[in-house]
C-alpha cells in the first residue's frame, strides 16, 4: 500500500490491465496526446502506442458504438466520455444497444465494455459540464454503475469492470481526482460490485453517501460526533448492483437514514435507495428517509448560485440532526 491520488489509481488500473491483457485498450476524446483533459491517462500513449491509446473524433455515438462492436468481437475496450453530460449524445447506443445486446441475443453476446465518465460539479462549469447523470441510465436494465469515492475503490472497481463481461458505466467525480488515499499494489486487487463499504460505525443515524458525498458524509459524521450524535457512514460503491443487505442492516441498527448525492434530488439514485429501504426495512425506521441532493435546478455558473444548488456537508449535518437530535 502507498498513497496515490484517485486519478493515479484509475490510471494504474488501466495500465495494469492493459499490460496483462492485450484485448484491453483505451479510446476517447483527448485520451492520448493530451493525456485526458483531467490528466487521467497521462503517459499511457508513450507506453502503449496509438493503437491501444486511441484519440477519437468528438463523436460520442461512434465512441460508444464502436466500443460495443469491439467488445462483442473479442476486445475489452475502456472508452472515456469526457463529461458525463455528453452521455446523452450517445443515448441510443447506451440504452438500446449496449445495455440490451446480451439480452436481445438470447444471452449470447458478451459485452465487456467499460465506459469511464467524469461527473459532478468542478466549480463554475455550469449546466452542461457539472451534472451527475447516474440516474438517467439507472432505469435501463442491462447496465452496471460504479461510483467510487476513494482511490482504492476506484482502482479495485475499475479492475472488476474491465475484467467482467457486462457493460459498466464508471463515474469519476472530478473533484475526487486529486484526492489521495492508500491503494494496494497487488495487481489482482479488485473490489467486487454489489458490496457496500461501512466506512464509519455509528448507532444514531445512517449516512449513505454516493461518490463525492461520501467524503462530505464523513465530514458531517465528525461534526455530528461533536454534538453527541453517532453517525454510521456507508458507501454503496455500486448503484447497480446495489448491496441491499448492508444498507438494511445499518438502517435496522440506527433507525434513521440520510442519503446524500450530488445528482438532482428528483428521481436521483437516492430515490431508488429510499424506495428499497421503504419496501424492505420500513419496520426498523423511526422517521422519514431524508435525501440530501442537488436542488431540482440546472447547475449555475456563478459560485454563489452554484453553492445554493449543490448539497453540502452542512446539509447532511442538518438532516441528520433533524432526525436524531
Amino acid at each position: 500500500m502507498r498513497e496515490i491520488t484517485f486519478s493515479a489509481a484509475i490510471r494504474e488500473a488501466m495500465v495494469e490491465e492493459m499490460r496483462r491483457d492485450p484485448a484491453v485498450f483505451l479510446m476517447g476524446e483527448d485520451v492520448g496526446t493530451f493525456g485526458g483533459v483531467w490528466g487521467v491517462s497521462a503517459g499511457m500513449l508513450e507506453e502503449f502506442g496509438e493503437e491501444r491509446v486511441r484519440d477519437t473524433p468528438i463523436s460520442e455515438i461512434a465512441i460508444i458504438g464502436a466500443g460495443l462492436g469491439a467488445a462483442m468481437s473479442g476486445m475489452r475496450p475502456i472508452v472515456e466520455i469526457m463529461f458525463g453530460d455528453f452521455l446523452m449524445c450517445a443515448g441510443d447506443q447506451i440504452t438500446n444497444q449496449v445495455a440490451k445486446a446480451r439480452f436481445m441475443s438470447g444471452g449470447k453476446a458478451d459485452v465487456p465494455l467499460t465506459i469511464r465518465v467524469t461527473s459532478g460539479a468542478p466549480g463554475s462549469a455550469a449546466a452542461q459540464h457539472s451534472q451527475s447523470p447516474e440516474a438517467w441510465f439507472m432505469n435501463v436494465p442491462g447496465l452496471k454503475f460504479a461510483v467510487p469515492a476513494s482511490p482504492a475503490d476506484a482502482k479495485g472497481l475499475l479492475k472488476s469492470a474491465i475484467r467482467g463481461e457486462d457493460p459498466v458505466l464508471f463515474f469519476e467525480h472530478k473533484m475526487l481526482y486529486a484526492v489521495k488515499g492508500l491503494v494496494p499494489e497487488d495487481i489482482d486487487f479488485v473490489v467486487p460490485f454489489g458490496q457496500a463499504a461501512v466506512l464509519r460505525e455509528g448507532s444514531d443515524v445512517t449516512l449513505i453517501g454516493i461518490g463525492i458525498m461520501v467524503r462530505k458524509a464523513l465530514a458531517a459524521a465528525d461534526a455530528l460526533a461533536e454534538e453527541g450524535i453517532s453517525a454510521e457512514v456507508i458507501d454503496p460503491r455500486t448503484l447497480v448492483p446495489l448491496d441491499h443487505e448492508t444498507l438494511i442492516r445499518s438502517a435496522a441498527k440506527t433507525g434513521r437514514v440520510v442519503i446524500a448525492h450530488e445528482a438532482h434530488r428528483r428521481a436521483g439514485p437516492g430515490a431508488e435507495i429510499a424506495a428499497m429501504l421503504a419496501e424492505e426495512a420500513i419496520e426498523y425506521l423511526d422517521g422519514p428517509i431524508v435525501r440530501v441532493a442537488a436542488r431540482n435546478l440546472p447547475l449555475p455558473y456563478s459560485p454563489g448560485l452554484e453553492e445554493f444548488v449543490l448539497p453540502s456537508a452542512q446539509d447532511i449535518v442538518q438532516a441528520a440532526r433533524s432526525l436524531a437530535g
Partner: protein, 332 residues
C-alpha cells in the same frame, strides 16, 4: 451474358439463386404464419430486396461479420442463418435464435458473424465499425459489413461511424439498401441528393452505386469493397438501388407509393431475371431449378413445423441473459 455467368463458380451461382428464393419464400411464409397467429410481433419484410441482401452476404468470407436492420431476414439467411431458428424466434419460442427474447428485430448469431438485426435506424453502423476496429487491431483479415437503409444515412450514427471508419481506414463496408422510402416518406423528402453514395466522399472513401436488383452486380461491388477493406485501404460505401414490394411493416396502408412505380420495379424482379439467366446460360436446367425451389419449400415446411413444435419460454426465463453476472440477483 453466358460467358459472364460462366466466369463465376457454379456453386456460387446456384447458392445465390437458392438463397434469394429462400429469402422470398421465407418472408411470404412468415407473413402467412403471422396472419394465422403463429407470430405475435412485427415483420418488416424485404420482399423485392433479395438480390441486395444475398449478393452482399455471399460476397463475404465466413469470418466476416454483418450488422443488420429491422428489415433483416434477407441478411440473416444470406449470411447462413437457419430458417428453423429464425421462424422459431419469430414465433417467440425458446428454441429461437434469441430464445424468444428478441423477435424479428434482434436476431443474432455470433457463430455465423451476425452481430444482430436492429430496431433502431442506423443503430448497427457504429457497432460494425467497432467490430472492424477489433479485426484491425488484431491484424485479422476480416471485414464488417453494415446493412442499413436510405433513412439511416440521415442519422448521426451513420455520420460518426463513417467518419471514424474513414479516419482509421477500418475494414468496413457501408452497404446501403436504398429502397426509395424511409418508412412512409420518399427519399426525395428526406435527402437533398439522389445518390446517397456521394456522402462517402466527405469521409475520405469511395462510394459506388449499383443495381440492387442484379445479384451479380451487388456481389461484384461488395467483392471489390471487401478487397479494399482486406488490404488496408479502408471502407467503401455501396449503395444498392432496390425496392420493397410490401409495406414498411405488415399492415402498412402504403398510401405513399407513386402510381405505376410498383409495376415498374416488379417488372425487374431480381429472382425470375436471375433464374432466366441461369437457364439460358445452361448453368441449371428447368428440372434443377424446380428441384431447388421445391427444396426451399420443404425447408420452410420444416422451419414452420420446428417453430410450432417448440416450447414457449417459461416466464422466469426473462431473468436469464440480461447480465453475465447478476451478483446473486442484486442487479434486478
Amino acid at each position: 451474358m453466358e460467358k459472364e455467368l460462366k466466369a463465376y463458380p457454379r456453386e456460387l451461382l446456384v447458392e445465390l439463386f437458392r438463397r434469394m428464393v429462400l429469402v422470398r419464400e421465407f418472408e411470404l411464409r412468415a407473413i402467412e404464419e403471422r396472419r394465422a397467429g403463429l407470430i405475435p410481433g412485427f415483420i418488416h419484410s424485404c420482399v423485392g430486396q433479395e438480390a441486395s441482401a444475398v449478393g452482399a452476404c455471399l460476397a463475404l468470407e465466413a469470418g466476416d461479420v454483418i450488422t443488420s436492420t429491422h428489415r433483416g431476414h434477407g441478411h440473416l439467411i444470406g449470411k447462413g442463418g437457419d430458417p428453423r431458428y429464425m421462424m422459431a424466434e419469430l414465433a417467440a419460442r425458446s428454441t429461437g435464435y434469441c430464445r424468444g427474447r428478441g423477435g424479428s428485430l434482434h436476431i443474432a448469431d455470433f457463430d455465423l458473424g451476425i452481430l444482430g438485426a436492429n430496431g433502431i435506424v442506423a443503430g448497427g453502423i457504429p457497432i460494425a465499425a467497432g467490430a472492424a476496429l477489433a479485426f484491425s487491431m488484431r491484424g485479422e483479415p476480416r471485414v464488417a459489413l453494415s446493412f442499413f437503409g436510405d433513412g439511416a444515412v440521415n442519422e448521426g450514427a451513420f455520420h460518426e461511424a463513417a467518419n471514424l471508419a474513414g479516419l482509421w481506414k477500418l475494414p468496413v463496408v457501408f452497404f446501403c439498401e436504398n429502397n426509395l422510402y424511409g418508412e412512409g416518406t420518399p427519399q426525395s423528402k428526406q435527402a437533398p441528393v439522389t445518390d446517397l453514395a456521394v456522402r462517402a466522399e466527405g469521409y475520405g472513401f469511395p462510394g459506388t452505386v449499383v443495381d440492387g436488383q442484379d445479384v451479380l452486380a451487388v456481389y461484384g461491388a461488395v467483392r471489390e469493397a471487401t478487397g479494399r477493406a482486406r488490404t488496408g485501404q479502408g471502407p467503401t460505401f455501396v449503395e444498392a438501388k432496390t425496392y420493397r414490394y410490401r409495406g414498411h411493416y405488415e399492415g402498412d396502408p402504403q398510401v405513399y407509393r407513386l402510381p405505376g412505380e410498383m409495376e415498374a420495379w416488379q417488372a425487374r424482379d431480381p429472382i425470375p431475371a436471375f433464374r432466366q439467366r441461369l437457364l439460358e446460360a445452361g448453368i441449371l436446367t428447368e428440372a434443377a431449378l424446380k428441384e431447388i425451389e421445391a427444396g426451399v419449400q420443404a425447408e420452410l415446411e420444416e422451419a414452420v413445423a420446428f417453430a410450432k413444435a417448440a416450447p414457449v419460454p417459461e416466464p422466469q426465463e426473462a431473468l436469464q441473459g440480461v447480465y453475465a453476472d447478476t451478483h446473486g440477483g442484486l442487479v434486478f
